[in-house]
């Protein structure tokens, strides 16, 4: 994947597209991996929550009442 910086100079109207440096690309790719991990974790937690609610036979709102 190629990443860019778009620079719009409001004084001249000039627009330049700059390629990300290797260091910047590494930062972006690390952030993407971190985000994917976070999304997977959220999905696993959501599935576990749904399964627990089904096992208990209550809704999410009823669970909130119990915890409240």
């Amino acid at each position: 994947m190629t990443y860019f910086e778009k620079i719009v100079d409001v004084a001249t109207g000039e627009e330049v597209l700059r390629n990300y440096t290797a260091e910047e690309i590494a930062q972006v790719e690390k952030a993407i991996v971190d985000n994917e991990t976070r999304i997977k974790d959220l999905a696993i937690k959501a599935e576990a929550k749904t399964a627990l609610l089904q096992k208990l036979g209550i809704t999410e709102d009823e669970a909130k009442l119990l915890l409240g």
Binding site: Y3, F4, E5, N35
Partner: protein, 272 residues
């Protein structure tokens, strides 16, 4: 021979002979005549002025006319008009301030310093095709308002704001927000200001974001406040406030996506 005490004109001694009286009187008269020679002459209206520091050294001269006072009313002031010509500036009204218009002073009602925000990136800048969108060439703007509309990148992308391309840890902030229904708080210092996080779906986006920056045209710290709202099932929204310790005036701002190129939305930058 005796003499007068101030000008040292010769006068007869007490023991002088009467027969010499005529000569003595003539001698004294000639001395007085010589001393007063500078008083001779002159014309009507002239005044006597000292020519040198020497006693009795005078000259006749025409006095300068001086300045004709143009003031007529309490509060009037005088200013130079057309070079050395004095002119009257009548007093202004309560609350007016002295200013310059057309090269001369005048009293004017102050504007009050109201901010007048104007769009500086005409039509807005599309948030597409790049992971960093930089608006450069900013000058003379002490306040900036950045308006994000439907800005999106990858799922769960974090969006940040950077000043003058400075990636040092000069950005301080505190956050209050919500994520997936839970209150979130945070803060610290970082290499950019936090603006918010896109929901965890690629279809999510920052539907509205409002960022205000102050102190941009000074050498002191710059402050910011941001409110962003992301749509989507796991939507995020946040309120941010902080400051930036860089001392240069703000000439560029960058909106950065942590997760790759932006794929939609528009960034509007207003300055005042």
């Amino acid at each position: 021979m005796a003499s007068t005490p101030n000008f040292n004109w010769a006068t007869p001694d007490n023991t002088g002979l009467v027969k010499n009286g005529a000569l003595d009187i003539r001698t004294l008269g000639n001395a007085i005549d010589a001393s007063l020679v500078d008083l001779k002459g002159g014309t009507t209206g002239q005044v006597l002025a000292k020519q040198t520091n020497t006693d009795m050294d005078f000259t006749w001269s025409t006095p300068s006319s001086g300045m004709t006072n143009p003031m007529t009313t309490t509060g009037d002031t005088i200013y130079s008009s057309s070079g050395s010509t004095p002119a009257r500036l009548g007093i202004g009204t309560t609350g007016q301030v002295l200013t310059v218009a057309g090269g001369v002073p005048s009293w004017a009602t102050p504007s009050g310093g109201a901010d007048n925000y104007q769009l500086i990136n005409a039509g807005g800048t599309a948030a597409t095709g790049a992971a960093t969108i930089t608006i450069s060439g900013i000058s003379g703007k002490n306040s900036l308002m950045i308006y994000l509309v439907d800005v999106s990148a990858g799922a769960s992308a974090s969006f940040t704001l950077r000043v003058n391309g400075d990636s040092a840890s000069n950005y301080y902030y505190v956050k209050f927000g919500q994520s997936s229904g839970s209150i979130t708080t945070g803060g610290g210092n970082d290499s950019a200001w936090q603006l918010g996080t896109q929901g965890n779906a690629t279809a999510n986006k920052i539907s509205i974001g409002e960022i205000i920056m102050f102190g941009c045209n000074g050498s002191g710290i710059k402050t910011y406040q941001a409110v962003t709202d992301t749509n989507g099932t796991a939507d995020e929204c946040g309120v941010y406030q902080g400051h930036y310790t860089g001392t240069s005036t703000v000439s560029s701002i960058s909106i950065i996506s942590s997760s790759g190129n932006f794929d939609g939305g528009t960034i509007y930058v207003y300055g005042a």
